[in-house]
């Protein structure tokens, strides 16, 4: 005799649409806040870099004083920091990311040409991650203990191999020796295979583990016994009941992973000589190309915000229990 019974109170709430709208509005506001915060933090961080922006910009060149003056005037580098900052924010508000100091073209344009390649890589990695993890988790879940140990051992090993090293090994074997995949470039699908594998290795290992444990945990749930007692097959059980539950923690995990893939892509893009935002950022940071760095940071933050909104939406769709709030 316990007191677990839950009263079903008649729910008298505002219409669903209003509620959804309010949630969306609050989220949008939060997202804008995060973006402004990220832009602000990056701006002042970059200003804290040693050496004046002008010097870094003109490093190792023999620009004449006239050119120097021109650069300072054009990028308003002689204004006070705060003037620069607010001018920058003001432009941001109108959707103008400014002009890259070094590349001499609009930040948005510079990022825009590289972005598709990075998104391609991230998307391929995500697809690979999801497909491989579901397959591996389902294979791994029903096994005996020693097989499970083996699976988790291999996962541990994969997580322990640095992705850039894995990338080098893949390149050496499959490009340089076997010539199956191109060694450089990012123009076509075959150029996507090895980078996606190198980048997906860690997520696959992590997601597989979470998914498999989710499967095992769900298989222990009472409703699984109830479903089995209705005489449904194991396949139907997994498809209709178990996978959805196991997928719940994975959706939020995938949100995190997508965010971090943008960071991981930097390394992979370097290893595989791929086009992408990662390499753009690395050189922008080295060149103290402030508008470009902030642009990339904002982009990454936007991806993060969007992905997390998607993850919440997915959770909302998958799990009716979250719809109450």
């Amino acid at each position: 005799m316990t007191s677990l019974a839950i009263k079903s109170e008649p729910r008298r709430v505002s219409p669903a649409a209003v509620r959804v709208l309010r949630v969306v509005a609050v989220r949008l506001l939060g997202a804008v806040g995060v973006l402004v915060g990220a832009a602000t933090a990056t701006f002042f961080l970059i200003q804290a870099m040693p050496g004046s922006t002008t010097d870094v910009l003109l490093a190792r060149t023999q620009a004449s004083p006239a050119v120097r003056a021109q650069v300072i005037a054009e990028y308003r580098l002689d204004d006070s920091l705060f003037t620069q900052f607010f001018a920058y924010l003001g432009k941001l508000a109108t959707g103008d990311f400014g002009t890259s100091f070094v590349l001499r073209r609009p930040v948005w344009d510079a990022i825009g040409t590289q972005l598709p390649r990075t998104l391609e890589l991230v998307a391929a990695t995500l697809v690979l991650t999801v497909v491989a993890s579901v397959v591996l988790a389902v294979i791994g879940a029903g096994r005996r203990r020693w097989a499970r140990s083996l699976f988790s051992g291999v996962e541990g090993l994969i997580v322990a191999v640095p992705p850039f090293w894995l990338g080098l090994v893949l390149l050496g074997v499959f490009s340089f020796s076997l010539h199956w995949f191109p060694a450089i470039g990012s123009s076509d699908f075959s150029g996507l295979v090895l980078p996606a594998i190198a980048l997906a290795a860690h997520p696959v290992a992590v997601v597989t583990r979470v998914l498999r444990e989710g499967l095992l945990r769900t298989l222990d749930e009472p409703f699984v016994l109830a479903a089995r007692a209705r005489g449904i097959s194991e396949v139907a059980l997994r498809a209709r009941h178990v996978l959805r539950h196991a997928a719940l923690p994975v959706t939020s995990l995938l949100g995190w992973i997508t965010g971090s893939l943008i960071g991981g892509a930097v390394i992979i893009e370097i290893v595989f000589s791929r086009q992408g935002v990662g390499r753009l950022l690395l050189s922008a940071v080295q060149n103290k190309d402030m508008p470009l760095v902030i642009g990339v940071v904002l982009l990454a933050a936007t991806v993060f915000v969007v992905v997390n909104a998607l993850v919440d939406a997915a959770a909302w769709l998958l799990d009716p229990r979250t719809r109450e709030h």
């Binding site: 009263k7 079903s8 009472p222 005489g231 998958l318």
Partner: protein
């Protein structure tokens, strides 16, 4: 005609450790057979062996294990699936978790219909099944998810899924454990109707009262074996096995008031000499409302007034959500009332602050339903009590008083059994030398026999130390057994109060009458009245 189910010498082992050892029973068509026994005695495993769902790693052996002449020992997976749901329905033990929380209730009910292709048009049948199972507004409920249903509704929906494919045998594993007395009554009624309509029923319960009212035949299990069986009237009035006898004795009821239940504390057989003292707590007209965004406010206390005297036990009863816990927490000053006052020792909580408030706190302690949750997980039993009273001698004395052995208290509390944990909680509460202890459902999670021991310890401590109890429970039997005075609450209001015997034996308010009437165990009560004590 052979019985529908025939089990002979069933042995189920997990990793070499037998959980069921040599159980034999029959279930005839249209018969209600009950398995009773304490937690872990093997009831569920026994029942699930009829579905081939004993769990991962179970080794099932039997001389005979047959359903309608079909030898279950040699079934393949496909044949099992033909049996499950279609011929044998299961209402699994954990009803609240037995509906997939991610699927609509209707889909769950429809699943066996589709799986076994029972009907062409599924939806009308689902609605009919839900209505049949006593679910009001089936059109609405069908589209809801399980978390939107109350425990009772979930239990009924689950029964609907189990009955959907019209099985010949229904296994109901603890179908009313989590339910209020009133809801419990409805569910039991539903099962009784099904049995009357010809479905054989294998009923599992730890609650003798439930079993006694419903079953045609009872098997009492202990440690994986059936220790006694027979028709309920026989088993309950004339228990042959000491275990059955102890089990019966342990049930707290009005009739057993003032006596020891467990037989472990002889002192309780002495007459009770308590006289209630001065007024310790005065509650005047307290109101408490909870506001949750997007919902109308909930009134958890609507003008409650009462007093607690030194050394007495005040019982608070009422169904779930009626505000019992809220009132209890207000007594401790943990929840401040919206209006009205709670005075302790003549001073309202609102007038106490800082060190004075903390000092007053020590004089009114609490015992929770889940004792483990109230212990710091890093602490051993002794540390837990020592935190309340640094004097090691006093700690040792109290531990002895509640019946905890020295060897048990230097381990982390989670390694103790449920009953031991609750004794530890009592020891801690007593260690602060309180005048009052608020006990919020202290025995609801315990087996009858363990419950008996804990109740005995509480009564014993009160007699020795003169501490007053505010005893919150939804179990009328327990309250009747322990309380001097009783408050009956409903929707935050006190609907009736007075001496325990007066209120519970001759209820005046209609709500109280319903509560009392809903308590199962007519057969049991009759049996107990003829049972010899000891």
């Amino acid at each position: 005609m052979s019985p529908l189910v025939r089990v002979r010498d069933l042995v189920v082992a997990f990793g070499g450790r037998p959980a069921v050892r040599g159980v034999s029973f029959d279930v005839e068509r249209g018969q209600v057979v009950a398995l009773v026994g304490e937690s872990g005695s093997g009831k569920s495993v026994t029942a699930r062996s009829l579905l081939g769902l004993c769990g991962r790693g179970a080794v099932v052996e039997a001389d005979e294990l047959a359903f309608d002449g079909l030898d279950l020992r040699s079934l393949g997976e496909r044949q099992w699936r033909g049996l499950r749901g279609r011929r044998v329905g299961l209402v699994a033990q954990d009803a609240l978790g037995s509906l997939d929380p991610l699927r609509r209730v209707g889909a769950e009910v429809a699943e066996p219909l589709r799986e076994h292709r029972i009907v062409d048009r599924v939806r009308p049948e689902v609605l009919r099944l839900l209505a049949d199972a006593g679910v009001p507004e089936p059109e609405v409920r069908e589209r809801q998810w399980s978390h939107q249903l109350s425990g009772g509704l979930r239990q009924r929906a689950l029964i609907a899924t189990a009955l959907a494919a019209r099985p010949e045998l229904l296994i109901a594993d603890e179908p009313t454990t989590a339910l209020d007395a009133t809801v419990q009554k409805q569910v039991l009624g539903l099962l009784r109707a099904k049995a009357a309509a010809g479905t054989a029923l294998l009923l599992i319960s730890h609650d003798l009262a439930v079993v006694a009212d419903l079953a045609d035949y009872v098997h009492v299990m202990k440690d994986g074996a059936v220790v006694e069986h027979g028709v309920p009237a026989d088993v309950l009035t004339n228990p042959r096995h000491p275990y059955t006898r102890a089990l019966l004795n342990a049930v707290p009821t009005a009739e057993r008031r003032g006596r020891g239940l467990s037989g472990t504390i002889p002192a309780l057989d002495q007459p009770d000499r308590r006289v209630p003292g001065r007024e310790l707590i005065t509650v005047t007209d307290v109101v408490k409302r909870y506001r949750v965004r997007g919902r109308p406010p909930i009134t958890a206390a609507a003008g409650v007034s009462f007093t607690v005297r030194a050394g007495e036990t005040l019982g608070i009863v009422g169904e779930s959500g009626s505000g019992k816990s809220t009132v209890g927490r207000m007594l401790l000053g943990l929840v401040a009332p919206d209006s009205g006052a709670v005075e302790f020792d003549g001073v309202p909580w609102s007038a106490r602050a800082g060190a004075e408030r903390r000092a007053a706190r020590r004089r009114i302690q609490m015992i929770y339903q889940d004792p483990l949750a109230s212990f710091d997980p890093r602490y051993t039993g002794r540390q837990i009590v020592t935190e309340a009273n640094p004097d090691p001698e006093r700690v040792a004395e109290l531990l002895r008083l509640v019946g905890l052995a020295e060897s048990q208290v230097d381990r982390p509390a989670r390694e103790l059994s449920g009953g031991q944990r609750q004794r530890l909680a009592i020891a801690r509460a007593l260690a602060a030398d309180p005048a009052v202890i608020v006990c919020d459902e202290p025995v609801s999670a315990l087996d009858v026999s363990i419950q008996a021991q804990v109740l005995d310890v509480l009564v014993d401590a009160q007699r020795r130390l003169g501490v007053a109890y505010v005893f919150i429970s939804h179990d009328l039997g327990v309250v009747h057994h322990i309380a001097d005075r009783v408050l009956v609450m409903r929707d935050g209001a006190v609907v009736e109060s007075g001496s325990a015997t007066a209120v519970l034996a001759e209820p005046r308010h209609q709500y109280t009458k319903d509560l009392v009437a809903a308590v199962p165990g007519t057969v049991l009560r009759q049996a107990q009245s003829v049972l010899k004590p000891g």
